[in-house]
């Protein structure tokens, strides 16, 4: 059926909404090839029609709608992939994670580079040239202090305000979030969520 291959591309994206499949070069090429064939057939039939035979109109129209649908699917395929790639800029910054970059086609890598650049340029102008990174502060700020449990005997921790806390295994503390986040990542502290 005309348009099936194009629709297959859309379904491919739909199947894995949380990741980006490899750019389907072959699929895109096949759709473009189908379009070429449809177009050539139409040209032939139109030439016959012009000479007076109206029997070909329906066929021409059917092929043309197929061409349009193929076009629409291809553009939707590209656009939705760009949406995903754009999201990567907001989540990971201007360097694409290698496993994602691996799945992009070369123009997509280029597009990402451009998007990254003009987004950064825009952010630099905010606030009369002071600049503001919009990819930060994406969640409403919560309390600066969080409750943590110490998982190991860590010893003394000096806080920014000079206060010294003794981190012993299984002790619980209320600490400024910014200062315990690195320790949480290292597995020294555990965030207690009520």
């Amino acid at each position: 059926m005309f348009g099936d291959k194009a629709f297959e591309l859309i379904k491919e994206l739909e199947r894995c909404p949380d990741s980006l499949p490899a750019f389907n070069d072959e699929g895109v090429r096949q759709v473009l090839e189908e379009m070429r064939v449809l177009f050539e057939q139409n040209q032939k039939d139109v030439n016959v029609s012009v000479s007076g035979d109206a029997n070909y109109f329906a066929g021409v129209q059917l092929r043309h709608t197929s061409l349009e649908r193929n076009k629409r699917c291809l553009l939707a395929y590209l656009y939705n992939r760009l949406q995903y790639i754009r999201q990567m800029r907001w989540e990971f910054g201007s360097i694409l994670p290698p496993e994602i970059k691996f799945n992009l086609c070369e123009p997509e890598v280029k597009w990402f580079g451009n998007y990254s650049k003009y987004l950064a340029n825009y952010m630099k102008t905010i606030g009369d040239g002071y600049g503001l990174d919009l990819t930060q502060d994406t969640k409403p700020p919560k309390s600066l202090y969080i409750e943590v449990r110490c998982l190991v005997d860590y010893g003394k921790l000096e806080l920014e305000d000079g206060e010294i806390v003794l981190l012993k295994k299984n002790s619980q503390h209320l600490l400024p979030r910014s200062e315990c986040e690195p320790l949480i990542r290292q597995g020294i502290l555990q965030h207690i969520v009520h």
């Binding site: 109206a54 649908r69 629409r72 309390s143």
Partner: protein
Amino acid sequence: MMDPAEVEFIAEKQMVEIVPNFNFDRVYLISGEIGPFRAGLPVKVPIWMAINLRQRQKCRILVPDWMDVEKLEQAKEDESASRYFTKMPSEHYMAEAQLILSACGEDVPRADEIRTALKDLWDMRMSKLRSSVDTFIKTGGTHARLDHLTLMEMNSVRPLLPHALDQLHRLSTVRFVFSPLVNSSSCFDMHISILYYCFWC
């Protein structure tokens, strides 16, 4: 459209009374002046600040007057007696109560009863909201007045109600547009008319 964390964020601006255990002069915040702080004397601060000071053991939070079992029972009675939404003691009663109770629930006498009363009140209002939404949609309403509905309550119907109304509007405005069928002997006309067909992927 609006994250629950954002509703909470907005509610955190509400003022609440605390009793500090320290002395300090007025603090000039961008959002206004706070203080001065005198140990043992109540002072009004935004909830986000109250919670922080409480976490650092620098104050006690005074529970707002309305967070009281008798007053909430009264509010429940008023709510059930009225066809409309009654005015809540705070524009953010639910978020505010959740914030305060989770920050210092152990300091609040009868905290569990307060929680239950609030939950009842919320449920009553939500069922009122659901039935008015229902009538609204069935009567093909285009507009409704919603005085005293709080932000969190609006937010709970936000993904659904506006969307349902949009769909209704869409259905009521649908026109079947037939593009002229190809009848011209010119293939150019034909191509142009074909180009105007609409497709949905």
